[in-house]
């Protein structure tokens, strides 16, 4: 377990979570969320007022015990956003900077090795100002891996690169991590990138963990309204909790009755927030039977259609639901097949399994933590 | 260089003292190191711990001051008397028996653009110059055109620049700088600056060794007096009566 507990008053930081060892984890958050601070604190480059950071049994910092191991004594590799290559050294010498414990000949051999692993063995004698963005990133990576660290930390590793290089390097990172079975923790503001690469995801906002857990699960089921917003769930609606039984939770959404498969067994407060992915809202053709396996069928009116290249976003208002807009994703072909336009009457289906009930506030944070600890 | 006596002397006696020390070296084979400056500056340096072993001032006031601070060794000796000269640019004052009066008149007519003296605050010759001007009633008129030299030597330096009209400087230095070639050089008798004396006093300082004592004695010898006189200073001997500018 990589255990991270950090507290700081100003700027505010208050996180306490654990990550599994040997996998790729990502911390995602908007700028100012503190994600870089968390990374730097784990690296030992930053001190917070209170901290407890440990990697398995290795305690790296514990303010309670007045213990703090500086960065250069932690077995980790670090790649910053703009790579931090030493401008006066060649690529091989840059990697060699992490191998000062070796003698010169061994050092250059090992450095060449590392460069080969990341695929740029032929650039050993080039200087950083002679390397492209992608090449620089690989040198930085090679340097970070040179000491065979237990933990690899990456701060927005791909944000300084162009789109195609980014895609290529993401694959390579995944490949590397698989091959070396390292623990990797990277920080990014790009949710898609995190979704692609990580097995564990930590959502950070304003110095606090909003939600944390296995990536796929998190992306499908945000736990709070805040998490849903962070993950760009556009459908956020309010309903009244109306009861729970074997089949699930019943909700009154305006005058409409909805069923959600998972949710709290009791709700002290009447109102409950819910969300559903735009790709989980289905358009139902007219000649479908009503009680179908697609879920609750509801009549609605289209209020907006936006076509965007490979997909279309349709906004509808379900009849008698209280006026909240629901959005669904369609392929442009389907759009034309259904002859949809503003004002059209349609039928949509909301499946109980796809309904995600949300906790409104952070009061549920501790409950969340208990749920998502592995 | 240790062991060679370090002697501080007023800038105004530079030419005389340099010649004396050369002669001394010819006669005895011994040498001394000479440092020149305005008497006031040197006295200050001594008060701040300068390693001089003998001090030749251009007046008595600074010697007395140092003695009062307990920084001297033995009684002071008057080795000569300074002579103040008035230099004026060719044709400025014309033939005159009373140069100060002629100067006053010139000042009144506004023909004097620049008048150089050593700084009265710490150079004895400057003090004397000021006293002379005050006594002649020209001080207030002279002030706007005054140029002050940090010591008598610098005053003469300034006088050598083309656009200085009048300078009140020590005679020895004026002659060394050949001021008489560019204008008129006239001696100002003691009476013209009654409140100021230019008794050149010298005194031994703590740290004076045998060699210093010997040079100190030599400075009072007939040889030295002759040299002082040749350079335009008055010497306290019954023989001296005439002055040759």
């Amino acid at each position: 377990m990589l255990s991270i507990f950090l507290e700081h008053d100003s700027p505010f930081l208050g996180v306490d979570f654990q990550l599994p060892i040997g996998t790729l984890s990502a911390i995602v958050g908007p700028s100012g969320s503190g994600k870089t601070s968390v990374l730097r604190a784990v690296a030992g480059l930053l001190t917070t007022e209170r901290s407890r950071v440990s990697f398995d049994e290795d305690i790296w910092s514990n303010t309670g015990a007045r213990c703090f191991r500086p960065a250069y004594q932690r077995p980790l590799g670090f790649v910053s956003q703009t790579f931090g290559l030493f401008p006066h050294l060649t690529a091989a010498e840059n990697v060699g900077a992490a191998l000062t414990h070796l003698r010169r000949r061994e050092r250059s051999r090992e450095a060449q090795n590392c460069l080969d692993i990341v695929g740029i063995g032929g650039l050993a004698d080039r200087r950083p100002n002679e390397l492209s963005g992608g090449q620089s990133q690989r040198v930085a990576m090679a340097r970070a891996l040179a000491r065979k660290p237990r933990l690899l930390l990456l701060d927005e590793p791909f944000s300084a690169l162009d789109h195609s290089t980014r895609k290529r390097l993401r694959v390579e990172l995944k490949r590397l991590q698989d091959a070396l079975a390292m623990t990797v923790l990277f920080v990014t503001h790009d949710l898609d990138e995190a979704a692609e690469l990580s097995e564990t995801l930590v959502l950070l906002r304003r110095g606090k963990v909003i939600q944390q857990g296995p990536t796929r699960e998190l992306l499908r089921r945000p736990s709070t309204v805040e998490a849903a917003r962070l993950m760009n769930f556009v459908n956020l609606a309010k309903a009244k909790w109306a009861g729970s039984d074997a089949s699930g939770i019943t909700l009154h959404w305006g005058d409409v009755l909805l069923t959600a498969a998972k949710g709290p067994k009791s709700q002290p407060d009447d109102t409950i927030h819910w969300t559903i992915r735009t790709s989980d809202v289905f358009l139902v053709k007219d000649n479908h039977p009503n009680e179908s396996s697609l879920g609750t069928i509801l009549p609605a009116k289209v209020v907006e259609v936006i076509e965007m290249g490979s997909s279309a976003l349709v906004s509808v208002i379900v009849n008698n639901s209280g006026g909240e807009v629901l959005r669904l994703q369609l392929r442009p072909g389907a759009l034309h097949r259904h002859h949809l336009s503003k004002g059209s009457s349609v039928k949509i289906a909301l499946h109980a399994q796809a309904m995600v009930l949300l906790d409104p506030s952070d009061a549920s944070l501790s409950a969340n933590r208990a749920k998502s600890k592995l | 260089m240790a062991g060679v006596p370090l002697i501080a002397a007023a800038a105004s006696i530079r030419p005389a003292l340099e010649e004396i020390s050369t002669r001394y070296n010819e006669v005895t084979g011994e040498s001394v190191r000479l440092v020149f400056g305005s008497s006031g500056t040197l006295a200050n340096q001594i008060a701040n711990g300068a390693p001089y072993v003998l001090f030749l001032s251009a007046n008595t006031a600074y010697v007395r001051w140092l003695a009062g601070l307990g920084l001297t060794q033995g009684p002071p000796v008057t080795y000569a008397e300074g002579v103040l000269a008035l230099y004026s640019r060719s044709g400025l004052l014309g033939e005159t028996e009373n140069p100060l009066m002629a100067l006053d008149s010139a000042l009144q007519h506004g023909v004097v653009k620049r008048l150089v003296i050593a700084n009265p605050e710490y150079a004895p010759y400057g003090s004397a110059a000021r006293a002379a001007l005050e006594h002649a009633g020209s001080w207030t008129r002279a002030r706007p055109v005054l140029l002050l030299g940090a010591n008598a030597g610098q005053a003469v330096q300034y006088a050598l620049q083309g656009d200085v009209d009048v300078a009140l400087v020590p005679l020895p230095l004026a002659r060394l700088a050949k001021l008489q070639e560019t204008g008129q050089l006239q001696v100002l008798p003691k009476e013209t600056f009654p409140s100021v004396e230019l008794h050149q006093q010298m005194v031994l300082l703590p740290g004076a060794d045998q060699k210093t004592h010997e040079f100190f004695a030599y400075l009072q010898s007939i040889d030295s007096q002759e040299i002082f006189r040749r350079h335009g200073l008055l010497v306290p001997s019954p023989v001296n009566l005439t002055l040759q500018p």
Partner: protein
């Protein structure tokens, strides 16, 4: 040509450089990296000699370290040296007056070594000392060289503070610049002119050499780009 005076000037320049450069490096680097709120005050303090006339510095040194001052007496009784009218005194004065020349360029050079590089070095396992010798110094040495050249040139020409603190003692504190002044006072403009020309030449060559090295290094970097 007063060779004695020239040797004194050289010695003064050499001693000042040898003693001041380490001070400049340590202070310049500390100023570059510190977060203390007193930083602007400290920078102003070290830049003071730039603004103060050398004679003022000389004056304060005379008053506070002269043989009649408590500091002067202390130093005399403990080390047997006087800090005024002596060569050691000149070195002290010279160091003080040259502080801004030695600190400023070094500070700028270390400031230019970004925090990112520091972080990278630490995460490479480099101790602070290794970071300093392998990363910071190689990147900052042009600044150190600048400081050295400026200090050297400035010391060769120093006058005001040398005159105040050192007097004009031949063989002891009569540096070349003082000797020139002395020759002028002795109505010997020829000798003064000769020495002045010589000093000018030496200073020019020294500074030109320094800048030449810096120039070449800059070109090297450019070529490999």
């Amino acid at each position: 040509m007063d060779w004695n005076a020239f040797h004194l000037s050289l010695q003064l320049a050499a001693w000042t450089l040898v003693l001041l450069l380490p001070i400049g490096i340590v202070t310049g680097r500390w100023l570059a990296k510190t977060q203390t709120r007193a930083r602007p005050w400290l920078q102003a303090f070290f830049a003071l000699p730039l603004v103060l006339p050398p004679t003022v510095v000389g004056y304060y040194l005379l008053v506070f370290t002269g043989t009649r001052s408590p500091i002067g007496e202390f130093i005399m009784s403990w080390f047997g040296v006087s800090l005024v009218f002596s060569f050691p005194g000149l070195v002290v004065a010279s160091i003080l007056v040259n502080l801004p020349f030695a600190i400023l360029p070094v500070q700028r050079a270390f400031e230019a070594v970004s925090n990112e590089l520091h972080d990278a070095a630490a995460c490479c396992g480099m101790t602070p000392w290794q970071t300093f010798t392998r990363i910071e110094m190689p990147l900052a040495w042009p600044g150190v060289l600048s400081a050295a050249v400026l200090t050297l040139g400035h010391t060769l020409g120093e006058f005001g503070v040398v005159l105040m603190v050192g007097g004009n003692i031949p063989g002891e504190t009569r540096t070349l610049s003082i000797a020139i002044f002395d020759r002028v006072q002795a109505f010997d403009p020829l000798a003064a002119g000769r020495m002045a020309g010589f000093l000018l030449l030496i200073s020019l060559v020294t500074v030109a050499l320094g800048y030449g090295v810096l120039e070449r290094r800059g070109q090297q970097r450019q070529k490999s780009a």
